[in-house]
Amino acid sequence: MTTPALSAREVKKVYRPRNRPEVPALKGVSLEVGRGERVGLLGRNGAGKTTFLKIASTLLRPTSGEITIFGHDVMAHPEEVRPLIAVVPQEGKPFFHLTPREQVYTYLRTRGFSRESARTRTEEAIEQMGLGEVADRLNVTLSGGQMQRAMVATIIATEAPLLFLDEPTIGMDPFARRGVWDSLRRLTRKGSTILLTTHYLDEAERLADRVAILQDGRIQVVGSVRHVARRAGVKTTIKFTAPQPVLAGAVATPAGLAVVLRGEVASCQTDNSGPALRELLDWAAANGLGDLDDLSVEAPTLEDSYLQLVSNGGPQ
């Protein structure tokens, strides 16, 4: 069995501010991220996502627990871990008096890339992040979204084995976000592993192979979006336009499905859409209602599941 990219066992972190009560930020986080995976870490503000990323990226010592990166102990041997990781910190600012091109290049040189290789990678990253037009302007003159793109370009250019991205697309326009997603997918195809936090659930849904929901200092659920939806108990919604006889009360809705009428729209929720659809269509045929107009099946989104889990999962 190959060593996972990241393995955390019962990681706890208690902040002890002076003159204030201590804050248990992480109460025992266990998480394994396999090589080449893209994992999204979700949770409300203050859930502990950034604390976890700081610990994993050698910035912060946990109060207890164990965490390894490709088998290297983060606490005992941070110097072995650092060459294997690259981090986009939350709201990190670029070096204001460098240009994006210079920033990516010098960062790569700092990490030990040769001049030649740093130059090639810099140009690739600049292009992937769509920074071509501003690549030679000082960072201080860039917009917030452009600065953030410069930060992401700096990190993806490293193609480090494990990338941590803390809210990487914050402040970006939809085109830039898609550019980041494409680049991250490309990186995992080349073998990198990615752990990112985000508040954009569509981002997690489209990008992450698995999501982990962190709440109240613990991981509440981890798995594919479908798995998370099942755990959250969010049902699939079936909708159709109610035929006239149903609206008039002449035909009763099928007994086995709790159909709700809202205006013209009839909807019902189910755990298992196959049998429900069959029952619905049989009922329509038996009552001479023909094909049901505007029939649609809406699978639960990550957002539905997330809201369900986070609102039921304990005190806010």
Binding site: L59, P83, G92, F95, F96, Y107, T110, R111, L138
Partner: protein, 250 residues
């Protein structure tokens, strides 16, 4: 080891590039000691100091060199690192394979380069405007003063950035800590009257110690340079200890 040195050197070059590109920052870093040199120098620091055969400008010009070292190495470095920490730049650097020692040496190296440039400007203007130049035999004192001054105040700048809780507080802390000492140490006016006990207390701090070593390089005055050197070294060690203990990257 040699790799750390080359990384530190590269970092210093990078810092210098950033410094000079920030025209406003660079300009005012130079402007402060030079403006004070010209303003105060043209009004008070000429003629013999009362009761001595020492010309005022031979004390005042090296005092302004000391002032430039303190502003560049202590105030600006401390505030800059506190801001970089606030902006998340330090934590990004910390998660790279760049060793902490290489980064911090690079930053100190760049500070030393800036300080030397300020020193050269102050010396040149001091010579042209006030006819004050170092003694030929004063070169060792000048070299020792600059090296120890940058080390001591640069370490204090690192310690300041480690102690300041926020980016905003670093500059006020720096100003509140060095300005009163600079005034009491006679940096701006060598004849400033200070009670004996206060003078003895001020002598324990590095501001007057650095000024006196540099003054020695301009005109032989009755000081005990060894004491001044010990004071600077002691503060360097203390600042280094505070930095090692408290410096945070995020």
């Amino acid at each position: 080891m040699s790799r750390t040195v080359s990384l530190a050197f590269r970092q210093a070059l990078l810092e210098q590039r950033s410094f000079w590109r920030s025209a406003e920052y660079a300009l005012f870093t130079f402007a402060l000691p030079i403006a004070l040199l010209l303003l105060i120098g043209s009004t008070t620091a000429t003629g013999y100091l009362p009761g001595t055969r020492v010309e005022g400008q031979m004390i005042f010009v090296p005092s302004m060199i000391a002032f430039g070292v303190i502003v560049a190495a202590y105030v600006n470095l401390g505030a800059k690192l506190a801001t970089l920490r606030h902006d998340g730049v330090l934590k990004r650097i910390r998660t790279t394979p760049l060793p902490a020692s290489a980064y911090l040496s690079g930053v100190l190296g760049s500070t030393a380069a800036t300080t030397l440039a300020i020193t050269a400007s102050v010396m040149a203007i001091g010579a042209l405007a006030f006819g004050a130049a170092p003694r030929i035999g004063g070169v060792p004192e000048l070299a020792v003063g600059l090296v120890l001054g940058v080390l001591c105040f640069g370490s204090l700048g690192l310690a300041l950035s480690a102690v300041a809780r926020s980016a905003e507080s670093a500059a006020p802390i720096a100003n509140a800590s060095y300005l009163p000492l600079a005034i009491m140490s006679g940096i701006f006016d060598p004849t400033f009257p200070v009670p004996h006990w206060l003078s003895a207390a001020v002598g324990l701090f590095p501001v007057r110690a650095l000024a006196q070593i540099l003054q020695q390089s301009y005109t032989p005055v009755a000081h005990a340079p060894v004491t001044d050197i010990v004071v600077l070294l002691a503060w360097t060690a203390a600042a280094g200890a505070v930095t090692a203990w408290r410096f945070r990257w995020h």
